[in-house]
């Protein structure tokens, strides 16, 4: 704790950055984002297993973009988001000071009584931050190699169902959507100045929260995240309707991994596969 506070104070007082985005405690089992602009405000900064939010989502906000340089407290998974934003030209490595946190895993589940360990933490490859300006915290436990059949049991189960069963499942789930767009707003990868659902001349996506509108919205969002989602699970966590959105996202990420051998957010030099053309890209979808 103290090392984050000291680091934030140092960065702010030396003028290295003009804003530090980190976490503060707001309940026994709850943390939340904290914006620190002055060294004396840094004492509230914490880091623990309840620091589940992906703070990279704030990097594309106009007020944060306007800063000279911003420091961000980031777990390995959050750093994946930062890297993806940089590879998509939404931020620069120079603008972001990454306070990387060694992370033993965070707790998911709804506040105020989160209990479940986050699925993503079980196979996390970046418990020790892969890219950072400074790394803090005790050395984390070794990562466990991912066993897809165990970790993504829910994805596998869904794939094994018939088309009709899957359709019934998604109809029931997506009917619950209230179109609050918490998923979009929490997502670090959803940064469009105008989201397609907000384009209303004409209205491309039905804004009614009926099945048609909800299918349009959630499928469009899932597609826009393919090859880009960094598996932080924020959309699912903040969903007031408890829709298992990560089922959609994980399925698409697995497709991209299989077809393009690509996982987003690990390599600063990488080109996102769906934005570039390579000679040996699969063409078997052209008939």
């Amino acid at each position: 704790m103290k090392e984050i506070i000291d680091k934030a104070k140092e960065l702010l007082s030396q003028g290295t950055v003009d804003l530090v985005i980190g976490y503060e405690q707001c309940g026994d089992k709850q943390c939340r984002p904290l914006f620190v602009e002055k060294p004396e405000e840094a004492d509230k900064l914490v880091f623990n297993e309840y620091c589940v939010h992906n703070l990279a989502t704030y990097l594309t906000r106009p007020e944060v973009k306007k800063t000279k340089r911003v420091a961000i407290v980031a777990k390995g998974c959050d750093i994946r988001a930062i890297i993806n934003l940089i590879t998509e030209n939404q931020s620069t490595r120079e603008h972001v000071y990454i306070i990387g946190m060694n992370c033993p895993g965070v707790i998911s589940g709804k506040a105020p009584n989160p209990t479940k360990h986050h699925a993503k933490c079980q196979y996390c490859k970046v418990r020790a931050p892969h890219i950072s300006d400074v790394t803090l915290g005790p050395t984390p436990p070794e990562s466990v190699p991912m066993d897809k059949t165990i970790i993504h049991q829910d994805v596998e189960e869904l794939k094994n169902k018939t088309k009709e069963e899957r359709w019934a499942f998604w109809k029931a789930q997506l009917s619950k959507c209230i179109r609050c767009y918490a998923c979009r707003q929490a997502c670090p990868m959803c940064y469009c100045n105008r989201c397609i659902v907000d384009l209303n001349t004409p209205q491309w996506i039905d804004t009614r929260s009926n099945l048609r509108g909800n299918l349009d919205w959630n499928i469009v969002r899932a597609y826009h995240l393919s090859g880009r989602c960094i598996d932080c699970g924020e959309c699912e966590r903040v969903c007031p309707a408890n829709i298992p959105l990560m089922l959609l996202n994980r399925t698409l990420q697995e497709e991209v991994k299989e077809k393009f051998n690509f996982e987003s957010g690990y390599d600063l030099e990488a080109c996102p596969p769906l934005t570039v053309f390579e000679k040996d890209d699969h063409e078997n979808f052209i008939r």
Binding site: C31, E63, A111, C180, A186, R208, P240, A241
Partner: protein, 343 residues
């Protein structure tokens, strides 16, 4: 008069019976570990072991979307199609903060224009409210003068006498008639369980001075404080959509060449597109301007229009916020600033 007692089993039977007829029934249903006020059918399991539902009762009377006009075009011209009349509603499972919100919403929907979609439905609704047995750190009904046992807005108030049973009290004549009509089920014989704990007004601390908020907002519209208060808000509409008193809506048209439906959809001042002009100018471009609108509307503009704050202290917006915005904390901060004369 003898006390009128009903238990969970008979309540389920009653709600299922009514749902089988022409009346729509809304009640708490468990979905992925949380309770939601949901329209039920004759066989929907009803969930009783919850503290407060994620969504509010507004969904029953002010639906997420509803058709307000339908038409068809043929060789003879445009023909309007009838919107089916509103069905009667039984709304079970809100708390006193929910019921009180209905009285606040009525003022708006019956203001300069009578919104018959809302008012017809409201007039046909029997509100059966559960007095609170629990509260959490986000509850603040007492700060606004409401009570966990309050009767405002309810037709029938149910107070727990044990885990399984309630004592029913008719608040309105409609409530009384409902109890009389269903007297065969409101006849349980459970005795009060002395070990069963409920809560009193004094258990929920008064967090701030509600009358201090409006003058501060009026005088400090441009205060830098708004930016500090709202820095972490990420501008979704989760808070407004679970709020029992947020009432903004949008009108959209879904039309093909020969027919169309005009729909009233929930909308939210917290979202950028809410005030986006056709010119692309947006008077509320920044995050803090939008969140300020949400607070100012409830605690200042609504008071100007209707002499009442448009908030009942249910705390749903704080519970649902993924970024950890907490309205009680914000109002307390404003009230404290007002007392100190701070900007």
């Amino acid at each position: 008069m003898a006390e009128i007692i009903i238990n969970r089993e008979k309540m389920t039977q009653l709600l299922h019976e009514i749902a089988g007829g022409e009346t729509e029934v809304f009640a708490p249903v468990l979905k992925e570990e949380a309770a939601y006020i949901t329209k039920i059918s004759q066989d929907t399991p009803i969930h009783y072991d919850f503290f407060i539902t994620v969504n509010s009762v507004k969904e029953a009377i002010f639906p997420r979307y509803e058709p307000i006009l339908k038409y068809k075009i043929d060789q003879e011209g445009v023909k309007l199609e009838d919107i089916p009349p509103m069905k009667p509603i039984v709304l079970f499972g809100g708390h006193p903060c929910d019921a009180a919100s209905l009285m606040l919403m009525e003022k708006l929907f019956g203001w300069d224009y009578n919104d018959h979609f809302y008012l017809d439905r409201r007039n046909k609704t029997i509100v059966i409210t559960l007095a609170c047995n629990e509260f959490d750190k986000d509850c603040f009904c007492t700060s606004l003068g409401y009570s966990p046992h309050g009767e405002i807005g309810s037709d029938i108030l149910l107070e727990s006498i044990s885990k399984e049973a309630w004592k029913a009290k008719a608040v309105t004549d409609r409530g009384k008639a409902f109890l009389e009509k269903h007297t065969a089920l409101f006849n349980a014989t459970e005795k009060p369980d002395p070990a069963f704990k409920t809560i009193q007004d004094k258990d929920i601390p008064v967090g701030f001075d509600k009358d201090a908020v409006k003058p501060w907002i009026k005088e400090n519209f441009e205060s830098e404080e708004w930016k500090k208060i709202t820095s972490k808000c990420w501008s979704c509409a989760a808070c407004t959509y679970v709020c029992p008193t947020c009432h903004c809506f949008d009108i959209t048209d879904d039309a093909s060449m020969w027919s169309g439906i005009r729909t009233k959809n929930w909308d939210a001042c917290t979202m950028p597109i809410f005030t986006l002009h056709a010119s692309q100018h947006n008077p509320r471009e920044a995050y803090y301007q939008r969140y300020r609108q949400r607070i100012a509307h409830k605690y200042s503009y609504y008071v100007d229009l209707f002499k009442v704050i448009s908030c009942t202290g249910c705390g749903r917006c704080s519970r649902v916020c993924g970024a950890g915005m907490n309205i009680l904390e914000i109002l307390t901060r404003i009230s404290n600033l007002a007392k100190k004369g701070g900007k």
